[in-house]
C-alpha cells in the first residue's frame, strides 16, 4: 500500500500544522526544511506531505491524489467539492467579512452596489442569501485598495486582526462566517483506507485538547 499523502496549505497554516504534528508525535522534520522538494516524507516515511496553496489543497484532496488535506475553511467554502470535513483544527482562526467605510451606507442604500473580492463564490452566496443585488468585481491582490480607488463600495475578504482595514479607514460592516483550518479527507479514501485514516484523525484530534 502506498503511504497516505496529506496536502498542507503553505504559510501560516503550515507552521501551525507542524506544531500540531510535533505535539502528537508525528515526525515532521522534512516539513521544517522543505528546500525545493515538493513531496516530503512525514511520520518516519509512513506518510507523504505535499505543500500547496490552499485552493490546490482542496483540489488535490477532491481528486484523491492526496487522501488528506489541511485547508482553511474559506478555501473549502469557495471551492465546493465533495470532500469530508472531519475536524476543525482550531488554528488559523479569522472571519470572512464585508468591510468598507463606516459611512458607506452599503447595507441601507438601494442603488447599484459593488463589492470587490477574491472570494466570488462566498460573496455571491452571501448576497443572494441576503437578497441583495451586488455586482462583484474579482480582485486577486490587495482587495482593500478597491474601495480606496472608488472601484467598489465594499470588500468581501478574510479579516484577522483588522489592522489593515483600520490603516486604510475601513471597518468590518458585517461578519459572514468564522473561519479556521480544517482537516479534509477524500471520500473514496475514507471508504478504502478507513482504518489508517482513523488513526491519524484520532491522533490529530487528541492534539487539539
Amino acid at each position: 500500500m502506498t503511504p497516505l499523502r496529506i496536502a498542507i496549505t503553505k504559510g501560516r497554516l503550515l507552521d501551525s500544522s507542524i506544531a500540531l504534528f510535533k505535539k502528537v508525535g508525528i515526525e515532521c522534520e522534512a516539513l521544517e526544511r522543505p528546500g525545493r522538494r515538493l513531496i516530503l516524507p512525514l511520520d518516519g516515511g509512513r506518510m507523504e506531505a505535499v505543500l500547496a496553496k490552499g485552493e490546490d489543497v482542496v483540489t488535490y484532496v477532491e481528486h484523491g491524489v492526496c487522501q488528506l488535506g489541511i485547508a482553511g475553511k474559506d478555501m473549502i467554502e469557495e471551492h465546493p467539492s465533495n470532500v469530508f470535513e472531519v475536524l476543525d483544527l482550531g488554528f488559523g482562526k479569522c472571519r470572512m467579512a464585508v468591510a468598507g467605510r463606516p459611512d458607506s451606507g452599503f447595507f441601507t442604500g438601494g442603488g447599484q452596489r459593488r463589492a470587490a473580492t477574491k472570494y466570488d463564490g462566498i460573496a455571491r452566496a452571501y448576497f443572494r442569501r441576503e437578497n441583495m443585488d451586488v455586482a462583484l468585481i474579482h480582485i486577486s491582490g490587495s482587495v482593500e485598495l478597491a474601495p480606496l480607488l472608488g472601484l467598489s463600495d465594499v470588500i468581501v475578504d478574510i479579516v484577522e486582526t483588522g489592522d489593515t482595514l483600520r490603516a486604510n479607514g475601513l471597518e468590518v460592516l458585517r461578519e459572514i462566517c468564522p473561519l479556521s483550518a480544517r482537516l479534509i479527507i477524500n471520500p473514496a479514501a475514507m471508504k478504502l483506507r478507513k482504518s489508517e485514516l482513523d488513526v491519524y484523525a484520532k491522533r490529530l484530534e487528541a492534539g487539539l485538547k
Partner: protein, 392 residues
C-alpha cells in the same frame, strides 16, 4: 468551456473492454439491454423524478418545446416502463450502456453502464443489486474496491419532527454529508428536546464501517422508522456476508446524498486509483408515479471513465490490440493471402492485410506498428519476424 473527450487508442480499448465485461455480467443475470433517445422532454426531469440539479441539464428548444440532451438514463427508462412496458411481468431487469451529458461540471460527457431492477421490493431485490454491483466491478477488472451502503430512511426520519427551518435542515444534511461533526453539533445546538433524534444525528457522520457499526447504531437510533431502516441495512449486510462479499461492503449510515430522490437503500462504489465514485445508485420511488404506476425500483450506474482511471492507475487497463500478423501478397498471391488470412482469423488471430507495394515496405510498416510477424505469399511463402512484440 468543454473538456474534450475524443476517445481512441488505449483509452477507447480499455472502455470497450469494461463495457463488454459489464454487459456480459448483466446479461448473465437476466438483464435485458435497453437504450433511450438522446433528446427527451424537459418536463420529465422535474420534481423527484431525478436527482439532478436542473442547472446541470443541457436544454434546447424545438418548436417551442423545451428538450434536454440525455442527462441521465434512469428517468428515460422510467418513462419507457411507465408508458410502454405496462403489461410486462415484474420485476423488469434492464441494463444500459450510454453517454449522459452534464452541464457546468469538469466533465461534460460521461459513459454510464448500469442496471435497473423495477417492480421488486424487499430485501431480495437489494441483495441482488449489491451482489450484481460487486460482480460488475470485479468483472470490469477492479480488484481493490469497496461498496458503501446507506439508507435514505435514516436521516429523513430522524429530522422529520425536528423544529428546523428548511435552510437549517439542508445545512444539517450537508454537514452530515461532509462528515462535519462540529457543524452538525452547531446546527443541532438550537434544537430543544428531541434528545433521541439529536443524539443519533450527532453520531451519524461517524457511523460508517464494517458490520461492527450496527451495535452502536441500534443503541443510538431509536426513532422507529429510522431504526427500521437501520435493521433493513443490517439484514442486507448480513446476507452479503453469507455471499462472501462482506469484506467489500461498508455501511455508511451518514450517506445523505440526493435525499429528495432516493427512498430506500443507497449504494456507492470506490476503487483504489481514483478519487471518483466508480458506481452509484439506490432505490427510488417517485419516478414512475407520474405515469400512474405505483412501482418502486432500484438500480445503479457504473461510471466507466472512473473505472478506467482506476484500471490505468493499477496497470490493469486493456490496451488497444496490435495485430498478430501482417500479410503481404505478390502478383499471384491474392487468393492465397485472403484464404490464409481467413484461416488465421478463424483461429483467433488478428490479421492485417498490407496495402503497400513491396515486401520491404511492409516489414518496415509492421515494425512501426509493433506487429511481430509478416507473412509473404505469392511466389515464395515465408514468415518474417519483425523483431517487435511477441511471437506466435
Amino acid at each position: 468551456m468543454y473538456t474534450a473527450r475524443d476517445l481512441f487508442a488505449d483509452r477507447r480499448a480499455a472502455m470497450t473492454a469494461v463495457e463488454r465485461a459489464l454487459a456480459a455480467c448483466y446479461e448473465s443475470r437476466g438483464y435485458d439491454e435497453i437504450s433511450t433517445p438522446i433528446l427527451e422532454d424537459f418536463s420529465m426531469f422535474s420534481g423527484s423524478a431525478t436527482a439532478l440539479d436542473p442547472k446541470r441539464i443541457f436544454k434546447l428548444v424545438d418548436n417551442g418545446e423545451v428538450l434536454v440532451i440525455r442527462p441521465d438514463s434512469t428517468a428515460p427508462i422510467g418513462r419507457i416502463v411507465g408508458t410502454k412496458l405496462g403489461e410486462a411481468p415484474l420485476p423488469l431487469r434492464l441494463w444500459y450502456n450510454q453517454e449522459v451529458l452534464r452541464a457546468g461540471g469538469s466533465q461534460t460527457e460521461l459513459s454510464q453502464c448500469g442496471i435497473e431492477l423495477i417492480g421488486a421490493e424487499g430485501i431480495r431485490a437489494e441483495i441482488e443489486l449489491v451482489d450484481t454491483a460487486a460482480g460488475a466491478l470485479s468483472a470490469a477488472g477492479l480488484s481493490d474496491f469497496k461498496i458503501e451502503l446507506g439508507h435514505a430512511g435514516i436521516f429523513r426520519n430522524l429530522i422529520k419532527d425536528l423544529p428546523l427551518s428548511a435552510e437549517d435542515a439542508e445545512r444539517l444534511r450537508r454537514a452530515v454529508e461532509a462528515k462535519n461533526s462540529a457543524e452538525v453539533n452547531e446546527v443541532l445546538g438550537s434544537v430543544k428536546g428531541f434528545e433521541r433524534e439529536t443524539e443519533a444525528l450527532r453520531r451519524l457522520p461517524m457511523l460508517f464501517g464494517g458490520a461492527e457499526i450496527f451495535a452502536e447504531a441500534e443503541q443510538l437510533i431509536k426513532q422507529p422508522a429510522a431504526a427500521e431502516a437501520v435493521a433493513f441495512l443490517k439484514a442486507v449486510c448480513t446476507a452479503l456476508g453469507y455471499l462472501g462479499c462482506g469484506d467489500r461492503i461498508i455501511a455508511d449510515l451518514g450517506l445523505v446524498n440526493n435525499m429528495n430522490y432516493y427512498t430506500g437503500m443507497i449504494l456507492g462504489g470506490y476503487a483504489s486509483g481514483t478519487g471518483e465514485r466508480v458506481l452509484s445508485g439506490g432505490r427510488y420511488g417517485g419516478l414512475l408515479g407520474q405515469y400512474g404506476k405505483n412501482l418502486s425500483a432500484t438500480g445503479f450506474a457504473v461510471n466507466i471513465d472512473a473505472v478506467c482511471d482506476a484500471l490505468e492507475k493499477n496497470g490493469a487497463a486493456t490496451p488497444a490490440a496490435v495485430p498478430d500478423i501482417m500479410i503481404w501478397y505478390g502478383a499471384r498471391g491474392l487468393q492465397e493471402a485472403y484464404e490464409t488470412a481467413a484461416e488465421l482469423r478463424n483461429g483467433g488471430k488478428r490479421v492485417e492485410m498490407s496495402t503497400l507495394g513491396s515486401l520491404d515496405e511492409t516489414v518496415k510498416r509492421a515494425w512501426d506498428k509493433g506487429i511481430p510477424l509478416v507473412l509473404a505469399v505469392g511466389g515464395e511463402t515465408r514468415y518474417i519476424e519483425t523483431g517487435r512484440g511477441t511471437k506466435i
